[in-house]
Symmetry: C2
Subunit: 297 residues, 2 copies
């Protein structure tokens, strides 16, 4: 059957991916943001695709990132050697990044290296990347431009945000294009619209717009609140209100419907609780999303 394609950033998108996997199995395809990718310690780290894979594999740690039960001996040793370990990686997570770096150095595409990891974790749904080429989100805050991870970790994601840019001019990955073209529904996950979704749309915006499938977005706001990350500062920078109007405005011309716990007059809304903190809630929202896309088709 034609796939349901989810565009996802980190935690929110990954949680919805998990709910959709329970409903769809291998009919789910996730395209995960690579604007947050970072190369360090000899590893190529792809935080959002890996977070999605770990969630889909049921292997995510309770702390919200990394693998459950992972150890941190390598980072401790790097610190003892005087390295500035500002980006923490568990030992297995480090190995994943080293594997990806090795595969890329040997000429594999990022899509292929990501698929190695997905298969090693036994995840039945494909996890794709927007492009096999570099795509990097940069943030300007307090006068200084920083790559996304440095802004988030070194600067603790502190706004106000003065500017955001997606750098690089990557071509779409063929697997991502083909998934969108054949999709029966395209779902924009409840991730940061500006820092997690826009980098994907910078590469795949046109293919999403021209796809035959209905496009719906799940709001990242729960009872008006941002659950995690700098979404509030990003919406403020983009000039959007922190509500369903703001989210619908951001995706104007792209989405056919919004799933949110608050109505907006700007687009067809499915009003429902979009909180994703339990397996049952994730599955319930996933089912609601799928029913909504069917109704819109």
């Amino acid at each position: 059957m034609a796939p349901v394609v989810l565009l996802a950033g980190g935690t929110g998108g990954a949680k919805l991916a998990r709910g959709l996997l329970d409903e769809l199995g291998s009919e789910l395809v996730v395209i995960a943001n690579t604007g947050d990718d970072v190369e360090l310690y000899g590893a190529y780290v792809s935080p959002d695709p890996d977070l999605v894979i770990f969630w889909l594999a049921g292997a995510i740690d309770e702390r919200g990132w990394g693998l459950a039960g992972d150890t941190f001996a390598a980072m401790d040793q790097l610190r003892a050697l005087g390295q500035d370990v500002w980006f923490n990686l568990g030992d297995r997570d480090l190995a994943i990044g080293l594997h990806r770096a090795r595969r890329l150095a040997a000429g594999a595409r990022l899509t292929e290296a990501t698929d190695d990891i997905r298969r090693a974790f036994g995840v039945p749904a494909r996890v794709l990347v927007p492009s096999d080429e570099p795509l990097r989100s940069w943030v300007k805050a307090r006068g200084a431009w920083r790559p996304f991870q440095e802004f988030m970790i070194r600067d603790r994601g502190e706004g106000p945000i003065e500017n955001i840019e997606v750098r690089g001019d990557p071509r779409p990955a063929p697997e991502a294009l083909s998934a969108l073209a054949s999709a029966r529904a395209i779902v924009i996950g409840p991730s940061n619209p500006i820092l997690s979704i826009d980098p994907i749309l910078a590469v795949l915006g046109e293919p999403v717009r021209s796809a035959a499938a209905p496009v719906v977005a799940v709001s990242p706001l729960v009872r008006g609140q941002v659950l995690k990350g700098p979404t509030a500062a990003c919406l403020a920078w983009a000039g959007h209100t922190q509500d369903s109007d703001g989210i619908a405005e951001h995706y104007e011309g792209l989405i056919d419907g919004l799933i949110a716990d608050q109505r907006t007059d700007l687009v067809t809304t499915l009003e429902t609780d979009v909180e994703l903190s339990t397996p049952a809630a994730r599955r319930r929202v996933a089912r609601a999303v799928l029913d909504f896309t069917t109704a819109l088709a």
Copy 2:
């Protein structure tokens, strides 16, 4: 005071280094073989210098390599990702190799990268390398040439050995040259003469010969036996007998004395037990070596 310089390969040399450290503290300088170095998983692994550092730091694991209490999560993960993990590295050991690779990539010399590690482990004696440039031991056995580590690990060091080559034409590292020139004694550790010591001598043979200090070798044979590694196959290939005559023959023209548990007529011999399995034995042999070099001076 002028340093005592020890040329060392792996375990035997490292154990003697430990005994010498207890006697000499920072007056000990070790020059460790880099012919076994290997690059993999994004890391630059320098097994002999690291083994010496781990022994000097009292951090060696009981298994005889790697760090006490190290975990192996990264290698497990690489295996799960389908990599051929033929060279096992603990998580902290991997970090050490990643650090070294990073320092070298940034333009540091191997001497400097090694010194980072030595200092991180709080080792008061310097651990040097023969050259900052690549030096690689290759072994031909059963018709096939293999880099040292592949011969030792993939082929389990199985002889008969048909040929051995030290490849590369590296210049001596300035720190190694200056240590030899200022040494009050030069000690060749009880390591494999052909695969551990000859690579060092391929770079530093002339500086050792022309140094003012007496040069003594500690036999790697204990009651006629090889304790570890392919020394027997190497001596056979080199046409030496597996006894003090064979060791003295190998170092002919280079050493002023041999410390062994069996006399030879080929060179002045200090006949004493050279077994190094306990801290007391290591310190006793170290003291005997130092007294012998003083007597020869």
